[in-house]
């Protein structure tokens, strides 16, 4: 069995037709993991025995595969709770923390029969764009081990590119699904805000966080989304979602109008050429293009790096060494708090907590926080206006260039933050956005990003499927 060519769709067919048993399938993935994982470091924990036991049950003669995800191997980012297992968020603070319940998305995957092979490495508390801030060591890019896999969902992206699994769940606050998927040459979708329950996701910046699928094809993104989406009574911000038609059908070329943002320049020359070539190809097939002038999107990254740390400083206040997690003993309570947080958090997380405290402090709140919230309203309105004029989606690159080298940006936080420039607008406006591989620079993949109108997640999957047919 060659697992390198498998997708969820193909593996489901194979299992259903009994071309291979579920145990054979899962064993094959663990064989690959054993061989290559020491070089990649995409998992924080592996559940080999549990996974094989689950597979064994599905190999009984009378077993009927009940869903597309039944028997499919998954990786779950380690900020999403899986009951009874460690959930570290990539931090020393939670290195021994055991989840006492399942996240709603995990509950849904389990109900569909998915097999979780392990928990994915990640930047600490999802703070990072390279996968290097994890307490459990950096993840390497499987396509070139001297390069970063992107972050913060570094483990799921690298595990998919290594063919260790067929599906993954990540979380995306400012690009944390799309950037690593792009760097590793796989597919990732940040669903519309409110489309997928966040119950059981360790919070980073709650107004921006969204759980979403990572996979090896557009259809697989659609399949995973169809199982994890919808209203959840445990997350009151989740909303009812229409079912997704599977497989994802492409649209007629002439039916599609795409927007490109003219005042959001691509600085990398090679990348610009690849992007422009893609547009020409799509135009030649009859896809219409509209140039959009979005005035406030140029402030998106600045606004994001104000709002996100502000929310982090408040969300991460719960880690105090008293209720759960790491604790450093000291003479009095205040000192326990300070030493625990000083030793339990890494440098990037501490930077963001302190930045957030500064932004929210007396005398700075209006200048930074209120101003950024006003910009956020304007960005949301700009997108609404663009979509109301009849565009179906907006396309732009996923990242400013391909994967960079390990350690290249760890000492330069601002350079690291600039990696998120194309991804944060969708989070600020709450819109669905996906990345698909499109072109390469020096043998490293680039991603093409498609942003859709609010709750038009299925439409951007269809647009991506159509684009895939052309490029």
């Amino acid at each position: 069995m060659n697992i390198d060519n498998l997708t969820i769709t193909k593996a489901h067919k194979g299992l259903k037709n009994k071309d291979f048993s579920c145990q054979e399938l899962i064993k094959e993935f663990f064989k690959k993991i054993k061989k290559k994982e020491p070089d990649i470091n995409s998992f924080i924990n592996l559940f080999k025995d549990k996974a094989l036991k689950q597979a064994e049950k599905k190999d009984q003669k009378s077993y009927k595969y009940k869903s597309f995800l039944d028997g499919i191997p998954f990786i779950i980012k380690d900020n999403i709770l899986v009951k009874g297992n460690l959930c570290t968020a990539g931090s020393k603070m939670l290195k021994d923390y055991k989840a006492s319940y399942n996240a709603s998305v995990v509950e849904k995957l389990k109900k569909a029969g998915a097999i979780i092979l392990g928990k994915g490495n990640m930047d600490e508390f999802a703070c990072g764009s390279s996968g290097e801030t994890s307490f459990f060591g950096p993840t390497k890019n499987p396509l070139n081990e001297k390069k970063v896999p992107g972050g913060s969902s570094s483990g799921p992206a690298a595990a998919l590119a290594s063919h260790f699994v067929l599906g993954g769940l990540g979380s995306d606050t400012g690009g944390s699904i799309r950037e690593p998927a792009s760097f590793c040459g796989v597919y990732g979708l940040k669903p519309s805000y409110n489309r997928v329950s966040r119950f059981g996701l360790i919070a980073m910046a709650s107004s921006l966080d969204q759980i979403g699928p990572m996979a090896l094809s557009i259809d697989d993104l659609g399949i995973i989304l169809s199982y994890i989406q919808d209203k959840d009574k445990k997350d009151l911000t989740s909303l009812k979602s229409d079912p997704i038609d599977l497989p994802i059908e492409p649209l007629k070329f002439k039916q599609i109008t795409l927007g490109v943002c003219k005042n959001f320049p691509i600085k990398n020359k090679k990348q610009k050429k690849i992007f422009e070539n893609t547009i020409s190809k799509l135009k030649n097939k009859g896809i219409k293009f509209v140039e959009l002038s979005l005035d406030y999107i140029k402030y998106a990254l600045e606004a994001y790096y104000i709002l996100m740390p502000a929310e982090i400083s408040s969300n991460l206040a719960r880690y105090d060494g008293i209720k759960y997690g790491f604790r450093k003993e000291s003479k009095d309570l205040l000192d326990i708090y300070k030493k625990t947080r000083s030793q339990g958090f890494g440098g990037e997380v501490k930077t963001r907590i302190m930045l957030g405290s500064f932004i929210l402090s007396h005398g700075y709140y209006d200048k930074y926080y209120t101003q950024a919230q006003k910009i956020r309203s304007l960005i949301k309105k700009e997108f609404q206006k663009a979509f109301s004029k009849g565009i179906d989606g907006l396309i732009l690159p996923t990242t400013p260039g391909p994967a960079f080298s390990l350690k290249e940006k760890t000492k330069k936080p601002l350079d690291m933050y600039l990696s998120d420039i194309y991804t944060v607008p969708a989070n600020l406006a709450g819109l669905p956005a996906l990345t698909m591989p499109n072109g390469q620079i020096n043998d490293l993949p680039l991603g093409l990003q498609v942003i859709g109108d609010y709750f038009e997640d299925e439409k951007i999957l269809k647009i991506a499927k159509t684009i895939k047919k052309i490029i």
Partner: protein, 96 residues
Amino acid sequence: MISKEKIKHIAKLSRIHLTKKDIKKYQNRIEEILGYIKKIKKADTKNSKPFKGVVDSFDLRKDKAYKKEGALTKKLVDQAPEKKDNLIKTKPIFKK
């Protein structure tokens, strides 16, 4: 320019202990980031209201106790680094 005193102050607000070396390190990092994000002041926002959410409102549920009282207590208390008789133990908050 953000002063060392300011860094010490926000570290205190954040409940994070910093060594002298740390103060310099975070002063540099935070200064660099503030230099970048302060560009937002150029944005004309006089006709805009602060963002309230992607959707305007949600159906809220009634606030009611989960199952029977104490059903989750042991599970939650067991996660605490220090505990006594099904209670989380801390150092005194008030000095005698």
